[in-house]
Symmetry: C2
Subunit: 300 residues, 2 copies
Amino acid sequence: MSDIWSLGIQRLLARVNSFHQPGSSKSKCKSFLCHTEHIGWIREDAANQLRRYSNVFIEHSDRFTLADHLNTYESRSEAVAKVLNDMRARDCLKTLRGWRDELYLVKSTYNRSPLFEIERSAASIFGIRKYGSHLNGYVIDDDGTWRMWIGKRSATKQTFPGMYDNLAAGGLSHNLTPTECMIKECEEEAQIPKALATEKLKAVGAISYCYEDDDGIHPEGEFLYDIQLPTSFTPNNADSEMEKFYLWTIPEVKQAIIEDNFKPNCAVAVLDFLIRHSFITPEQESNYFDILSQIHMPGH
Amino acid sequence: MSDIWSLGIQRLLARVNSFHQPGSSKSKCKSFLCHTEHIGWIREDAANQLRRYSNVFIEHSDRFTLADHLNTYESRSEAVAKVLNDMRARDCLKTLRGWRDELYLVKSTYNRSPLFEIERSAASIFGIRKYGSHLNGYVIDDDGTWRMWIGKRSATKQTFPGMYDNLAAGGLSHNLTPTECMIKECEEEAQIPKALATEKLKAVGAISYCYEDDDGIHPEGEFLYDIQLPTSFTPNNADSEMEKFYLWTIPEVKQAIIEDNFKPNCAVAVLDFLIRHSFITPEQESNYFDILSQIHMPGH
């Protein structure tokens, strides 16, 4: 692999893990706990706002906790919702301008019971982890050549318009498992019939990273799936989220994921695919070993 | 996956990551740096000894560093060797009883230049990371059933005698790349001919973990390889390190890796294989997401 490619990958990983980089807000953040369970990170801009609601959020030297009297799912959800509605009305944090009216279940780890629910756009205020499912789709030609299906997001999409993407991907909500979500996105984003997806989808791992931006802190986790599609199949977008699909050779894909017009977390999902299928080796890529840790960062 | 299996996997991961568990020595350890590069961890038992050599090891409030005058590879290697020889003569640290007379190159990350060299058995005194290459070998029967080749270590091996192991594995030394090491171990441990290994070996990732024991702190990294072998091939040990090889079904392998007689880091290499090949899914295994981080722990 060229030095330029190596540097491009390091730049990509520094972007998706910007919270873990030197000079990030991490060292100045406070943990956010519900009882003893770590559920997120609170940055100074969020802390300044939360201090106004000291009946709900208790500040300690190194952490924020929810007030002791909020000892049920319902009471926590209600108290936090009141705060968020007030903050939204005061227009004090940018992320709340993207209010989704969609509730997100807050858990300390993926497999734990939900502790409370919050408006999805507020998760980044508290540095709460969000999850999704991402699909790498590929074909193997008769001569053994592998090619990957790469999506291009529609120009009207709210986030990352016009950027390159995986074949299908979507955020997890509480009513679907990772595989159910993946099957649904296969249909909606690429018109892969449910029967084909159910037969061919393979769960192959997960990636984990954490970035920060104007909206807050974003720990994210993506469950990864591979699908080998028949060469006769052509994906087609059903929900107008994707503008077009491209069938690229591996060298084309490798080049694309270090460019600025590839959605960063989708580029990381592709990188994981390239490593698992031996299109990148320890001898070609000097950062091979460290890349594996950088794309599987622990939660906290 | 059953709750018993889930708990077995959590127990396995707690063993290979014992340094990262609550109650470990981690919070009381000091970092070990060469200039500004973090290269390891020093536990109190090691610190007590190193304090006797304050011309070589400088103690600060939160870290040990090498003395400023040790500013070349040679001077660092020589000064540390003198200390280790003295400590060995005094028989003050157990790990030095396993003196190997083999030099190991100390680097802050796998791809950096070596900073100095030390006797291999002393790496755990300083919590310096060691690397290896591990191979998961499998066959696919005519009916599509996968089976894995599992080795059983010989009863006379110095470490983990009689325990189950991967098809081949070995520690990296400075004169071989991960893939070269893997090809060599294929021949020595399983009599996989070099031509077959070179053609069929696939680099598929790496695992990373850190345990501690009486010998010290052991951050380890293993480069992982898969090989699909012809059903006609039977591995055979050439260097008397393996007693026998078994060809097990996936359910047999799954059960084996949670048992105490499977070498823990080899069990983790198998776990990674089972995840990558979709023999474990997020729906079957509730800790799926966290397992992926636990087997790819960052260095420091």
